[in-house]
Structures are given as structure tokens and as C-alpha cells.
Amino acid sequence: MKIQGIQSFILLLVICSGVVLTGCKSEGNNPGREYAPQMYHSVPYESLSQIKDEAAGTWLSNREDEKGEFYNSNPNNPHKMNMREPVEGTVARTSNGYLPYRIHKDSLAWAAKYLKNPLPNNEAILADGKSLYLKFCSACHGEKGKADGKVSEVFMGVAAYDKGQVKTATEGHIYHVITHGKGLMGSHASQLNIEERWKIVRYVQTLQK
């Protein structure tokens, strides 16, 4: 069997293309080759994927500002970020009409005395509260509120709900502490909205017993 010139060329091409194309695979820090890059990259400012390199994608760019095709940063924002915080004092519009909670961090005693839960005490609210509690609280406070969550092994000073002063804490107290934090606990207001916090309060009250 003799292999002719063209045949051997084709064979060689197949083998080489196999070797070359493996380089398109993504691994570690290399995201790999893209199939249709112009359709992959966002033209509008994309809040969670920012590309600061002005030369990124120059090879296929037809932008008027002569920057790279993939460049995606807002030069008008601080740090050229695409994300922006809302203007200070912005009030989020909610379907249930909650107004922002403006009681100061230091007014725990006032909140404990006068704040009342706007949500009814029923099964549905408790179920929601439990589901939120297991996501946002149990890592430290434990599934049953006994301060035995895994994080409490390294995060010291976690309160158990059925012990000491916490056992008799009012709903206003619990709400204020979730919102502003207390002692070593930080504020959870950025993670939980007002309604979610009140739902958790309902559930935490069942764990105080």
C-alpha cells in the first residue's frame, strides 16, 4: 500500500486540526474560543460583566469610538462601573406599601416596646418565615435556634433563642435586631426586605418557646 501526496496531506491535516482545535477548549483561566463573539458580548452596559480593557476585541470592532468590540464599561460612573447604587434617599416602591424602616440603630428599646408585626400569624406566613430562616439565619443560630449552627463554631457569641433575655424578646426587638444587627451580628437589611424580615420574626417567635 502506497500513500499518495494528496492523501498524505489530507491525513496530516486531520491530525493537525485535531491538535490545534484542542486549544479552543476552556480550562482554568482560559475561557476558550467563542463561536460568534459579536453575538456573545453585550452591547448595552451589562451590570454583572464588565470589561475594562479598551482594546478587547479590536480585531473585529466596527465601533464608532474605535474602541474594542467587547469593551463594556461606563466612563461616567465612579470606577467606570456599570453598576450604580440608587440615589441616596430612594424609597423602593413595594406592592404592599411598606415604608422604609427609619428607627435608628440605638433605639432598640423603643422598637422592642412599640413595633408590631403587620403580618398575620398564620400557617402560610410561618412556612415562608421558616424557609427564609433556614436560608438566612440557621447557619449561625441553628436549625432550632439553639445557637448550634455550623458557623457558630468560629463566629463567637451567637444567641440561642430559648435562653436568657432572648427568650422574652418582643417581635419589635427581633425585627430591629435583624434590620440593624446587635453586638457582633451585622445588619441583614440588604439581604432581606421588610416583609421577609417580619416573616422571619413570626418564625423566630416559635423557636423562643
Partner: protein, 450 residues
């Protein structure tokens, strides 16, 4: 005995011996492998509690078991959150606390620590500064007698060697420690067995060679015996034959073609992409070891299109007090312009530039809340075992085929969701199959591309 019969017997013997040798080698290998996994009996630690002798106390701290018991309850209810007897916790370890300061001082500090600190008491001020100005709450509701019973409990506990502490710290990996400790006898026995087995393999090998030689010496061999004795390979001939050459070329080209085709399918697929991040955050530690729910940090996952990268204030919920000395945590402090000494935030804050791992092409729309909140899909279904990853890696292909396949196979989670009532009604009119995502338009182009 008939000679042919004897030769047949010899022939079988060689065969059998070869089999036995092979079996022994396998056993040898298996025993070597299993040895590594073998576990010995777990060691039990028995620590005796030191006997406690009733002694007169100069401070008037009681040794009455009833008072100690009530002190224990009060301690666990009001102090345990921040104090341990033998270990430094949020506050100092309380062992022998009554030897450090007088009883009246302790009572006034426990009731209102800030008052003592503000009075300028040197010890109290130093303590306050040493514990980075963490305020101990007031305990005015405790009676003097309550505090005395707490002290009685602390005194009783102080005498105890911290057995509890050693067990709690080792409980996590206690089993592993026991597993790695093999008893010396086992090692000796295994070593001996291995030597014996190796010797047997050698002896059998020699026997086979000898028997084959003996058979060769015999003149009156039948066909089967001859075959056994004259086993030889014409290696050069095989390598030079055209069949062999064609076979080799075929294999190489086929492999090349397969790699090429496979690689073509991977263009634009970022599966396996695991970029290193500006801060070496480990999901294995946070989500795995400490079981923090994904939603705790990725707050958008039930509410929006994006799961969101947590803002640094969420890190600071724990890292104001956890691992404050770590160089990686200091990067968060730097980004927030946070001073761990004064616990204050400055104005020179700058964003942490995380590298996005999952780059879904802009041509496709995906919504997290629809999948997590409405469908109730676990994060791991698409993201893989995130809780085992130190560096996050893109687990799924995120190709269109991958999406479509799931939409074909997955039933719609209609339970307790009135939105689907009418759709379910219509679906059941013409089908007895469960309602899949594709049945309610899950394969429509414009669902994801618009």
C-alpha cells in the same frame, strides 16, 4: 503408568501452575490495595474527672452542689453566648476569674460594665481595649446571689480539666485520625504475607520453566504439547506487514478526526472554565464546611434574573470577627476602607473586581428566579457540587441543547401555584402525560432569544 498419559498429566500441570501463579499475583495486588483502606479499631480516650475536694473559700464562693447547679443554668442562659470557662470566646475565659478581681468589682462589672470602664478603672479599661471595645451588655436583672452562684459554677468548672474542649475540637476529624493509625501487628502480618506470596510466585515461575525444559527433552510429544513448548512470536514480521501499517494509520487518523470533531463542538462552550479570583474565596469552606445557604449571599437568586455577586457588606456580617488576620480578608477590608482596630469604614472604597465564571452569551436570556423560586430547582442541578469547589468551575455546558433537553424532560412544578391551574386544565384535556416544560412553550425560540 503409560508414558503418554504421564505427559498429558505434565501438560495439565504446567497449565494449572500458570493459573495459580496468575491468581496469586492478583491476590497480592488486591491485598496491597486494600491494606491502604483498612481501618483498625478506633482508639477511645478515657479521661478521668479529677475528684473535687470541698474546701473553704476565702471569697465566700459556695461549693454547694445545688448552688452550682443553679449557677450553671444562669451561666448557660446569660453568659454562655459570649463566655466559656476555659476558652477565650467573645469575652475572656472565666477560669479563676475571682482570683483576678475582687467579688464586689466583678458584681459591678457584670451588672454594668460601661459604668466601671467610664469610672476610669485601669483594669476594666485595659480589658475593654484588649477585646477591641466590644461592649458587654448590662445584666442589671441579675441579683448578687445569682452572680455568686455563677461564680460557684465557674469555680467548680475551673477545677475541671477542659476535657470537653479537647473532645469538641477533635470530634470533627476524630474518625480520620483513628483510621490512619494502623496497629503495628497488621503491618507485620501484611508484610509477611506479601513476602510469602512473592516467594510463591518466584517458585512457581521456576517450576514452569523447569517443566517446559523437561517436556522439550522428551521425544514422543503429541501436538498439544509441542504447541505449548514451541511458543514463539515472529515480531518483526508483524511490524512490517501492510495490514499492520494500514491498521496503525487508520487508528491515528481516526483519533485525530475524533479529537478535531470533539474540539469543534467545544468552541463557544466554557465548561470547565475556572478563573482565579482577586480574593481566594472558597465555596468549599463557606457552603460546604459551614453550610451557609447559597441564598444568604446570592440574594438575587429568588428575586431576579441574576443570582448576584454579594456586596462586601455581606462578607462583613461574619468577617468583622472571623479570620480578621487573614491576608485574603484584609483585601475585603482594603476594598471597604475598613479599619479593624477602630471598626470604622472610610470613604476610599473601591469595588472588588471578581471575574465572572458563567458567561451566558448575550443572545440568550436566562432568569434565575424563574428556575429557583418557581420551579424549585436546586443550585447544584446546574452548577454542580459547588460546595466542594475551592475555585468555582463552570460545571454544565450551558449550550442550547443542554437547556432544551432539560425543558423536554422536566415536569412543571405546578404544586401550590395557581398560575398553572388553567394551563394544567387545558393540558389534561388532550394528554395523559405529565405536563413538561416543553408543553407550555418551553421550546419556543422567543422564550430565550429576543
Amino acid at each position: 503408568m503409560d508414558s503418554t498419559y504421564r505427559h498429558m498429566g505434565m501438560h495439565n500441570m504446567v497449565k494449572h501452575l500458570s493459573k495459580v501463579t496468575a491468581l496469586l499475583s492478583v491476590f497480592l495486588f488486591v491485598s496491597l490495595v486494600t491494606k491502604g483502606q483498612d481501618t483498625s479499631a478506633t482508639a477511645e480516650v478515657i479521661v478521668e474527672q479529677p475528684a473535687e475536694g470541698p474546701a473553704e473559700d476565702p471569697n465566700g464562693i459556695s461549693a454547694d452542689p445545688a448552688i452550682i447547679a443553679s449557677g450553671k443554668t444562669i451561666f448557660e442562659n446569660n453568659c454562655y453566648q459570649c463566655h466559656r470557662v476555659h476558652k477565650q470566646w467573645t469575652g475572656p475565659a472565666l477560669k479563676d476569674v475571682y482570683d483576678r478581681q475582687s467579688i464586689p468589682w466583678l458584681i459591678s462589672f457584670i451588672k454594668n460594665s460601661q459604668k466601671v470602664i467610664q469610672s476610669g478603672d485601669e483594669y476594666a479599661v485595659n480589658l475593654y481595649n484588649e477585646y477591641s471595645k466590644t461592649v458587654m451588655p448590662n445584666h442589671t436583672f441579675l441579683k448578687d446571689a445569682d452572680i455568686m452562684s455563677i461564680l460557684a459554677y465557674i469555680k467548680a468548672e475551673s477545677a475541671n480539666v477542659p476535657v470537653e474542649d479537647t473532645t469538641t475540637t477533635t470530634s470533627g476529624d476524630g474518625n480520620q485520625v483513628a483510621q490512619t493509625q494502623d496497629s503495628p501487628y497488621l503491618t507485620v502480618i501484611f508484610g509477611f504475607l506479601i513476602v510469602v506470596l512473592v516467594l510463591m510466585v518466584i517458585v512457581l515461575g521456576i517450576t514452569i520453566t523447569l517443566l517446559t525444559k523437561y517436556l522439550k527433552g522428551k521425544q514422543d510429544l503429541d501436538e498439544a504439547d509441542k504447541e505449548l513448548v514451541e511458543q514463539k512470536l515472529d515480531i518483526q514480521g508483524i511490524f512490517k506487514s501492510t495490514t499492520f501499517m494500514a491498521f496503525v494509520i487508520f487508528i491515528v487518523v481516526a483519533l485525530g478526526a475524533k479529537t478535531a470533531i470533539d474540539s469543534l463542538f467545544l468552541v463557544g462552550v466554557q465548561q470547565g472554565y475556572a478563573p482565579s479570583q482577586p480574593i481566594a474565596f472558597s465555596h468549599k469552606i463557606h457552603a460546604g464546611q459551614y453550610e451557609i445557604d447559597c441564598n444568604y449571599c446570592h440574594t438575587g437568586v429568588t428575586k431576579s434574573k441574576n443570582a448576584n455577586i454579594p456586596s462586601a457588606n455581606i462578607c462583613m456580617n461574619c468577617h468583622t470577627s472571623v479570620k480578621t488576620e487573614s491576608s485574603e480578608i484584609k483585601k475585603i477590608y482594603a476594598a471597604l476602607d475598613y479599619n479593624p482596630e477602630t471598626k470604622e469604614y472610610g470613604s476610599k472604597q473601591k469595588p472588588i473586581e471578581w471575574v465572572r465564571v458563567h458567561n451566558l452569551p448575550d443572545l440568550a436570556y436566562f432568569n434565575h428566579s424563574q428556575h429557583v423560586k418557581v420551579a424549585g430547582i436546586e443550585c447544584q442541578t446546574c452548577h454542580g457540587p459547588i460546595e466542594e469547589m475551592d475555585v468555582v468551575r463552570q460545571h454544565s455546558k450551558l449550550t442550547m441543547g443542554w437547556c432544551i433537553n432539560c425543558h423536554r424532560e422536566t415536569e412543571v412544578n405546578t404544586k401550590g401555584n395557581a398560575y398553572y391551574d388553567k394551563l394544567m386544565e387545558v393540558h389534561q384535556k388532550h394528554s395523559k402525560e405529565p405536563m413538561k416544560v416543553e408543553d407550555i412553550g418551553g421550546l419556543e425560540c422567543s422564550k430565550c432569544h429576543y
